[in-house]
């Protein structure tokens, strides 16, 4: 013990003069560990992100203020593209209104399908995975496949319209084409939402349902007062995402109608494509692309505001 104590003492005496150096080492170690090493690991992905996302995005911002054909020199024209877009270009305003219609459809019909489907499937115990897989399956099909299937399903000579004696092409009339495309898109999309909602529902405490039953709640009251509040963060988050995605819709419209008939399904992304690659107005197309970012920003800000006001998002 004495020996131990001496050793301890001796050790303390021996280390005392080097304490500041240990402190420096420790500081250097902390700096390396917390400030340098993480950045070394991050540099590859940040560089990739910069080259693939940040720099092109900034270029897009710059080009939105230019008159540029997509090749060669760009000429700076200030806010002229935005002025033309909002005050002179009726096709842009029309396209924007179609995106808003698309958004309204997307946050209502697929959500209703998905909530209904998820609440039914949540009760299914036997063969649940088969139902879930079957309903989720369309989501993993490529858009070109789904769109082609629906093109044939909509055919008035041998498709679904013949079942009800309707002999017009839904995709060929300006008052039905957009909704026909939206429905085809919904067919692919709602299964994805349903799986998300179903997963969220499984996280709800079963005691709450028992309590509701004790209180005499019926299925609708259970859904409204227990299920929906329980999955509200997921529903609202997906609503935000779907609203943003509504401004990016391109594939189904491009494949099924290309923006027709008579421009009835021309959404902003189709207009951007035409301006960039067919009219050679890439500067103007970049400005239109900027407005999509702007609308996405509005949506995110709206939800952030709700969150700040205490909504559970």
């Amino acid at each position: 013990m004495q020996r131990d104590s001496a050793t301890f003492k001796g050790s303390q005496q021996a280390e005392a003069p080097s304490a500041p150096r240990l402190g420096q080492k420790w500081t250097r170690y902390r700096i390396m560990r917390y400030y340098v090493v993480p950045w070394i690991f991050l540099i590859p992905i940040l560089s990739l992100h910069a080259f693939v996302v940040v720099i092109p995005a900034l270029q897009g911002v710059v080009y939105s203020f230019t008159d540029w054909s997509g090749i060669g020199e760009a000429k700076f024209i200030g806010l002229r593209n935005f002025e033309e877009m909002f005050f002179e270009d009726q096709s842009y305003i029309d396209a924007l209104s179609r995106n808003v219609q698309w958004m309204i459809f997307r946050v209502t019909v697929p959500f209703a399908f998905a909530l209904f489907g998820a609440s039914l499937l949540a009760k299914v115990k036997r063969g649940a995975m088969i139902y879930r897989t079957a309903l989720f399956m369309p989501f993993i099909l490529p858009s070109i496949v789904t769109a082609t299937i629906w093109r044939y399903l909509y055919n008035p000579r041998y498709g679904l319209p013949t079942l009800v004696g309707y002999d017009k092409a839904l995709l060929g009339q300006s008052d039905t084409a957009l909704w026909a495309i939206a429905f085809a898109d919904n067919w692919q999309f709602w299964g994805f939402l349903m799986v998300l909602f179903l997963t969220a529902m499984q996280g709800i405490d079963p005691v709450l349902y028992d309590a509701a039953k004790v209180d005499g709640a019926n299925r609708w009251q259970e859904f409204w007062h227990v299920t929906l509040p329980g999955i509200r963060p997921v529903v609202l988050f997906m609503m935000m995402m779907v609203m943003i995605w509504a401004f990016l819709v391109f594939d189904y419209v491009f494949i099924l109608t290309g923006g027709g008939p008579a421009g009835a399904t021309e959404v902003i992304s189709i207009d951007i494509y035409k301006n960039a690659f067919q009219r050679f107005e890439a500067g103007y197309a970049a400005a239109q692309g900027m407005t999509i970012c702007l609308f996405a920003g509005f949506v995110v800000s709206g939800f952030a505001l709700l969150r700040k006001r205490g909504w559970d998002i």
């Binding site: 054909s69 084409a177 008579a262 690659f277």
Partner: protein, 439 residues
């Protein structure tokens, strides 16, 4: 020690030789991009296999999807892309030339005698401010194909006037058939075919020429009359039996119905010459029908008239590593022998060259008659203009995009043409009109 040094020297010399060899091979490699389709892969293989020079390596990169030109444009802007540049036609090439992305071909034209080999109007299409920047390929026009079997069964005659065509349409409908196809549910720009034909065949090619050269406005009453006539037949259900089907059916659906005889005629491009026989008539189409064609009638003459155009163009990229080798490849590509073989083996429409002798001896007689009549009509000046070859880009997009609004009664014919005039004036002022061959 000496042996070691000698070995090192030998290795070094071998490495240098390999590097020099690789660099030389790289310099002599000429790259092209082509669409990864049946026709694209066919002519690509044919070009690589039959190109006669051993000192030049030809590499054709097949690009999947339909965005070949868009992808190439982006690559060129980034200083990359193929040595030989492909595009949809003169107005696209004009943009590339104006951006300084193409090499002038003037001295190659002199060296290889392209000025004598091409139809003059076709070579002119590739000129920008007097210099040649691109070479046109795929001679194109739009004609009326008809189901000959159905016509013979009903005793219908081929019309040579517009009035005759109207009478024929009435007879076809009385027989319970659809007057004509195809449908454009998959191809919005294809609405330009009929507009091009009606402007030239109804208003007349001289007036179109004057409009394209800025001497006559597109709002001229002759054009109003032409577009109104087109609108009337479309709304009357000539196409596919109704506007909704015209707007939404696919090519395949329309061509199949044409093959089996439910649709009597097809107002299509000459690029379908090969396809009808291969896919839709006779044994491949599961029927015993035959097809043939006639020139779309005009309001002013009983002689055959055709709108002329080209399907695409080729040029040499400014960043081509070996422009001389690229020019040699182009020279071979535009030889009458290669064009004839490409047409015979792959079904490619021939380039607008001056063909002498019986180059297309193996061609279907209906096709041979087309090239013969087309040549005769061109020589007499009986030709009009395809919008995709002669209209500037923005005006052309207006032409095919807004005509659907006219058909759908969302836009009046007058406003449609006023809009076209507005776009045209802007592009005319910017010098973006492709060269218009003098009449």
């Amino acid at each position: 020690m000496f042996a070691k040094r000698l070995t090192l020297l030998l290795i070094l010399a071998l490495a240098i030789a390999l590097m020099v060899g690789a660099a030389a091979a790289q310099d002599n490699k000429v790259t092209l991009w082509a669409a990864d389709s049946d026709t694209g892969s066919c002519w690509a293989r044919l070009l690589v296999e039959t190109f006669p020079r051993d000192d030049i390596e030809v590499e054709v990169v097949l690009q999947p999807g339909s965005g070949l030109v868009d992808a190439q444009r982006t690559a060129l802007q980034g200083g990359a892309g193929p040595d030989i540049t492909f595009s949809h036609g003169p107005s696209f090439m004009l943009e590339l030339a104006n951006a300084g992305l193409l090499l002038s071909l003037d001295h190659y034209a002199d060296e290889y005698g392209w000025n004598e080999r091409f139809a003059p109007w076709a070579l002119d299409l590739g000129r920008v401010e007097g210099s040649l920047y691109s070479l046109s390929e795929e001679l194109e026009t739009v004609i009326l194909y008809y189901n000959r079997t159905v016509f013979e069964e009903n005793g219908w005659e081929i019309p040579t006037t517009m009035d005759g065509l109207y009478a024929l349409a009435d007879a076809i409908r009385e027989a319970g058939l659809v007057v004509m196809g195809p449908a454009f549910g998959e191809c919005a720009p294809c609405f330009e075919w009929a507009v091009s034909v009606f402007l030239s065949h109804h208003a007349g090619p001289d007036k179109v020429y004057e409009a394209l050269t800025g001497q006559r406005p597109w709002t001229d009453p002759a054009f109003v009359e032409a577009i109104t006539a087109l609108k009337d037949i479309v709304q009357d259900g000539w196409y596919m039996g109704g506007l909704d089907l015209f707007f939404s059916d696919t090519f395949q659906q329309a061509h199949s119905l044409f093959g089996v005889g439910e649709i009597a005629m097809s107002f299509e491009g000459t690029w379908m010459l090969d396809n009808y026989q291969r896919d839709y008539f006779g044994e491949p189409g599961g029927n015993e029908n035959e097809w043939d064609w006639f020139a779309f009638p005009t309001t002013f003459s009983e002689e055959p008239h055709f709108i002329i155009g080209v399907g695409s163009s080729w040029g040499i990229s400014q960043s081509a590593k070996n422009p001389d080798a690229a020019a040699a490849v182009l020279d071979f590509y535009y030889s009458t022998s290669y064009q004839a073989e490409s047409h015979s083996v792959c079904g490619n429409a021939p380039a607008p060259l001056i063909y002498e002798g019986d180059v297309f001896a193996n061609a279907d007689p209906r096709e041979a008659r087309l090239y013969q009549e087309f040549g005769q009509a061109s020589a007499k000046g009986n030709y009009g203009y395809t919008s995709w070859s002669f209209w500037p880009a923005r005006t052309n997009v207006w032409l095919w995009e807004q005509i659907t609004r006219v058909y759908d009664d969302q836009l009046s014919v007058e406003d449609y043409l006023a809009g076209m005039q507005k776009e045209f004036e802007e592009e005319f002022a910017e010098g973006l009109i492709p060269p218009i061959p003098p009449r």
